[in-house]
Symmetry: C2
Subunit: 437 residues, 2 copies
């Protein structure tokens, strides 16, 4: 009986382990449980459930480095027959027990076409978000409320209006703003969308407001409906506090007719350790896109809360790629390793069916960083700022304008400094925070 396979790659540290043996132990232990002592007839029957070692790449410590730096990257293919087509089942299979077994980190995941096909992915994606905004030709600009806790509706409305007037494309709630008596979600949406309409009359520009979807899990769908009925045109979601599957269910639901922005709150509990957890490209990249995030926020390498640049680039790659081979493993490779591949289910497609998701590098962003962001991310990026907008010496409106000017300068191929000569908002921003190139 043929099968299709999802593949997990682990970085496994051990001073003296026999990594090949360890890999075989994983492949058997996390699938059929035991193998060598099975009778031959049983083996034939169980073969389709058996994990397959695809690769073991050993890395000895550099000279002078401690023996504890010794590691191997181990790649195991897991038969789809073993798990249902949802992210909890996949994660529990490939990293449930194993996550607790020594120094081991999940560094990549690939999927069969058959598994992938269970996920519609982002409902809007980059193109859909651009279409809603009517902006095709430049990176987008997002701003974050300055402070929200303890503030009332009129303060929020004022903050919202100032941000909108500055020309931002998206405004997001603070992720720590929950259901509260001062600014309940329906009222908040109502007054913020009023402010958006007012600003649009003045700027001619559309805007998405991502309101924070919070509360008990089984009420999230109702809460989303309520927000959307009140006029919300986007949602912010703390996906890691709720689980990937909740995002996956929300994003595929027909009533959720707006883009979803995934916030990385709690992600630092998973990705920063070299020895444990799940790497950022899996956590905030592949799994989020699979689960249907239209935008994925993550700490930029530029600011205060920092993620290394190469990890940012890895997230970007998997959010933007349209090559199916970045998300799947080739039938030939699986067959070469002895897997009983059903080529129709595994399928070596050229193009990924999932829409792309916007990368949103965040934290510590000011206009002087825009050239760097665009160089690293290209045009398919959302430039996202909080303090870099509200803290502008000339105020919040000028803060947004300075960013838009910085983006325009880059698109025109002009240096920020030259461009700033004719644009006082950008000039003031550069004087305040400098330029980093």
């Amino acid at each position: 009986m043929l099968n299709s396979y999802c593949v997990a790659t682990y970085r496994c540290f051990d001073e003296k382990a026999d990594f090949t043996k360890k890999a075989r132990g994983i492949a058997v232990g996390l699938t059929v449980g035991s193998w060598t002592d099975l009778p031959e007839a049983k083996k034939a029957e169980m073969q389709r459930h058996l994990g397959i070692v695809l690769d073991v790449q050993e890395h000895e410590p550099a000279s002078g480095a401690p023996a504890s730096d010794r590691y191997a990257d181990i790649q195991i293919a897991y038969p789809d027959a073993n798990f249902s087509r949802d992210i909890p089942a996949l994660l529990v299979t490939v990293f449930g027990k194993l996550s607790m077994d020594g120094r081991i980190k999940l560094i990549d995941l690939s999927f069969s076409d058959s598994f992938l096909s269970a996920f519609p992915g982002p409902k809007f994606g980059i193109q859909g978000v651009r279409s809603l905004l009517g902006v095709q030709d430049r990176p987008l600009l997002m701003s974050i409320f300055k402070s929200v806790i303890g503030h009332d509706l009129s303060t929020l409305r004022e903050q919202f209006y100032l941000q909108a007037r500055g020309g931002v494309d998206l405004i997001k709630d603070d992720e720590i703003l929950f259901e509260n008596p001062l600014t309940p979600i329906e009222k908040r949406v109502e007054i913020c969308m009023q402010a958006a309409a007012q600003a649009e009359q003045e700027t001619g520009q559309k805007l998405l407001y991502a309101v924070n979807l919070t509360g008990p899990t089984f009420s999230l769908l109702d809460q989303a409906r309520k927000a959307i009925d009140a006029g919300a045109n986007a949602l912010l979601f703390n996906v890691l506090a709720y689980g990937f599957d909740v995002l996956s269910e929300l994003s595929r639901h027909p009533d959720v007719k707006v883009p979803i922005m995934a916030h990385p709150a709690l992600a630092g509990a998973f990705y920063p350790s070299p020895h444990h957890g799940i790497s950022a490209n899996v956590l905030l990249g592949k799994l989020l896109r699979l689960a249907g995030a239209d935008l994925s926020l993550f700490p930029s390498p530029y600011g205060s809360v920092v993620m290394p640049r190469e990890e940012n680039m890895a997230i970007k790659e998997v959010l933007l790629t349209e090559k199916a081979s970045d998300y799947t493993v080739s039938t030939a490779r699986l067959q070469a390793a002895g897997a009983l591949v059903d080529a129709a289910e595994q399928r070596d497609a050229a193009e990924l069916k999932l829409k792309t998701s916007f990368p949103v590098p965040s934290a510590g962003i000011h206009p002087g960083l825009v050239p760097l962001i665009l160089r690293d991310f290209g045009d398919q990026v959302v430039v996202n700022a909080g303090g870099g907008i509200h803290g502008h010496p000339m105020g919040t409106i000028a803060g947004g304008q300075a960013f838009r000017q910085a983006i325009d300068a880059c698109l025109a191929g002009e240096s920020l400094r030259t461009y700033a000569e004719r644009h006082p908002e950008l000039k003031a921003a550069i004087e305040a925070w400098g330029i980093k190139e």
Copy 2:
């Protein structure tokens, strides 16, 4: 305006940070956003939303240790006014953004009485589980299926029967057994409960079968109803793959009329790093009890997949304690730090209203470890074995019996070796695996 507070304790590593300043930055940054530049009138209004630094304990590196070992334990009180009474809101507030901000680990959480009162906790707890089984006077014994993937109903039934005949009190599904055509949940429950009834006729002993609750999040409640209607008298749940809130919602639902066993799959992505993540006593202890787990599984310090003994003991403490002070912070302490405490909401109660949860140290357990387990955990523990039952030289039934004999020996104050002279099953187990004391 008075308030109540939940408290987070962090271990924060930094070679040269001013930890007092860092603590103040957290207290302000994760609550009102800014403080010193607020006008006095605004301060008075925002005071009740302001985080409070409760404690900063600096630890310089031991002599000879690297400077990077320098750390501080920082304790911050967060006003309940800032978040809704659910675990995602609390976690996002106290460790959302902060989890990504350098080397920092969430090592403890305490709650106001007001926050706690939103959580009914375990529906059964230790006493409830004991009552269902009619066993009051000894540690319980649980066994795990040997291998399940790729096996059909009749093989499962046979495995189940043999385990039940050996005298175990609980049998759990493998956490990697998902909805599948060979052993769908309703059929599985039906045949396993038949096997349980058959065994009960022979042993006179009741048994709980924790069937694995899996699939899409928004269908879990229906799936649970289905399993319970089919006769399931317990549920196994991969809580970390779904989020604490899902457990919390399931456990409090009136239709979920059976105990819930929380599996630690994926927990290793959170707790093992000293520098990142969430410590095991919070993850598999306090939060699970709050969310309503009647039993909490975790890697024992004795076997193959290992968690250090002191972490096991910390989990045990918070699952078993009945002292409210282990879960709350005293009003006096908060007031001394300048918090505007509402004593009625904070409440210094003597006893915790949450039922206790069974600790279930797991992995690598054989009968020769029972004295150690009982010494570490006392009587309120579930001894849990897989290979230590199925791998018994005389077979699975004898495997269960050997464990029951080991438990009886300990309760009788007899050494395993002496007891084994009159009990061939225990004798064979000791010959196979030895005794560790």
